[in-house]
């Protein structure tokens, strides 16, 4: 079961420049594990050395932040769109 993941601009160098990719998983945790297996360059950007999701990267399922759902246990369906939203600071 494949779900669409939207990749933000700063991370596209690690997904062959694609802005959306597909990965499989029944929960967010499984989905992201599949994503970082397919695109290993993403791993260090999404996870710290302890294997925890970095907190300057937010994961949304449709328009809800997973921190306020079930975090990486949040169930994911084929019709959902998962977005990775990193913080950017540019303003000048």
């Amino acid at each position: 079961m494949a779900t669409k993941i939207l990749i933000p601009t700063p991370l596209r160098p690690y997904t062959d420049k694609q802005e959306a990719v597909e990965a499989s998983g029944a929960t967010i945790g499984e989905l992201l594990a599949d994503l970082t297996t397919k695109y290993s360059g993403l791993k260090a950007h999404l996870y710290n050395e302890q294997g925890k999701l970095r907190s300057f990267v937010n994961i949304y399922i449709n328009d809800e932040d997973i921190r306020y759902l079930q975090k990486d246990q949040t169930p994911v369906g084929e019709a959902d769109t998962v977005s990775i939203i990193p913080s950017v600071a540019g303003g000048v």
Binding site: Y14, S55, E64, I85, S87, V88, G91, V92
Partner: protein, 397 residues
């Protein structure tokens, strides 16, 4: 914060003529315009975001506009910082901005603060203003601005940009989330390139900056639905706007129920740009135990190349940058491709990694060391320093 009608300043006949298109709209009207006249905004930054925002806020008649910026107008600014012009090159951004804004609207008060925003001055600078408009370009200042807004109870009309994507929201409004509710932790330095390294579509800050100005006007006049608890994301290339839900985090260290941050901190340290005292001590011990050079200067690199040293120079910029200038003999492996292509490099070779200014190459160098390369040097200052000090015949960008 929306002021009562009683006590608002009256509009002069000239102002009535000027703002007629606001006055004839029921959503603004005379009372709304009087609120704008009594209102105030502090623009932190007179660059890509601050430029269009300040110009439209002046045009709209916000009575008092403050600007904080310590920079000087440079050629590369003019592609997007439209408050400045070719005749402003070399002037301070404040001088240039003040002149432009005074021309747009001579009825308003323009305050200029030629200083870097810091934990020492932020609370005092912010205090007289209704709304703070965050137009800065680095993480320490964004966290500083956020925290100061929360501590003072002032809303933060936030916007940020990267290449062709922008974000906007209103943080630190009463009962609304703050920036730390969304991003409790900044990224490590060097992970997200600046506009100078990542590039930015010139028109992009025009859109986001004016969205910030729009939110400022809505907050001052009390009309419409501000972006409180809403995170707007804009993709200019696809021309799509998306909205994500933002929640106030009850455990937020600054705006939560039990705040642990009750005064401004050292934000450079928070963002990892200045190691804490313990970290510096550890690093000093580590480097005295195992001295190894991790950087090389442009001049030193040229000397070693002239001497005939066997060095492999890896340029980690993008192909379009490699077209502009390059170090002779360098090979191009863009940063994003390093994890997949480092096997093309000889792990026994001495490698010099280089990018535009030294930020991306530092990351690449760190990565190569983690996968077993023993002799990796980062070119300090990147190719810009090389052009300055070794080969001025090449263009800079």
């Amino acid at each position: 914060m929306v002021r009562d009608v009683e006590g608002l300043p009256q509009l002069t006949n000239e102002e009535i003529k000027r703002y007629s298109r606001h006055l004839i709209m029921p959503e603004v009207g005379v009372d709304g315009q009087r609120r704008l006249k009594a209102g105030s905004v502090l623009c932190v930054g007179a660059g890509g975001l601050g430029s269009p925002a300040a110009m439209y806020l002046a045009a709209a008649g916000v009575g008092r506009i403050g600007i904080v910026d310590f920079d000087v107008v440079d050629y590369s600014n003019l592609q997007r910082q439209i408050i400045h012009g070719t005749s402003s090159i070399g002037k301070t951004k404040l001088q240039s901005a003040k002149e432009r804004l005074a021309d747009i609207n001579p009825h308003i008060q323009i305050d200029t603060y030629e200083t870097a925003l810091s934990s020492e001055n932020a609370l005092e600078l912010f205090a007289p203003y209704d709304v703070i408009l965050d137009g800065t370009d680095n993480f320490p200042t964004r966290y500083l601005t956020n925290d100061a807004c929360v501590l003072l109870g002032k809303p933060n009309a936030y916007g940020s940009i990267f290449r062709f994507e922008g974000q906007a929201s209103v943080f630190a409004a009463k009962d609304g989330p703050c920036y730390r509710c969304l991003y409790p932790e900044p990224p490590p330095p060097g992970l997200v390139p600046s506009c100078a390294e990542g590039g930015v579509l010139g028109v992009l800050p025009g859109v986001i900056g004016v969205i910030q100005a729009t939110e400022t006007i809505k907050l001052i006049t009390g009309i419409g639905e501000p972006l409180i608890g809403r995170f707007m994301i804009y993709d200019a290339l696809r021309m799509k706007f998306r909205e994500l839900k933002l929640r106030k985090d009850p455990d937020c260290p600054v705006c939560g129920k039990n705040p642990t941050v009750t005064k401004l901190i050292d934000y450079e340290e928070f963002c990892g740009l200045r190691p804490s005292v313990e970290a510096e001590a550890k690093a000093a011990v580590a480097s005295s135990q195992a001295p190894s050079q991790t950087e090389i200067s442009a001049v030193e690199l040229k000397q070693r190349m002239d001497r005939g040293d066997a060095l492999v120079i890896v340029d980690v910029r993008e192909p379009n940058e490699y077209q502009i200038n390059r170090i002779p003999g360098s090979q191009l492996i863009p940063l994003g491709e390093i994890p997949r292509r480092y096997a093309e490099l000889d792990p026994e070779a001495e490698i010099v990694v280089q990018c535009k200014m030294g930020g991306r190459s530092a990351k690449a160098a760190d990565y190569l060391r983690t996968v077993g390369f023993k002799r990796v040097l980062n070119l300090k200052g990147g190719i810009l320093d090389w052009v300055d000090k070794v080969d001025p015949s090449q263009p800079k960008y």
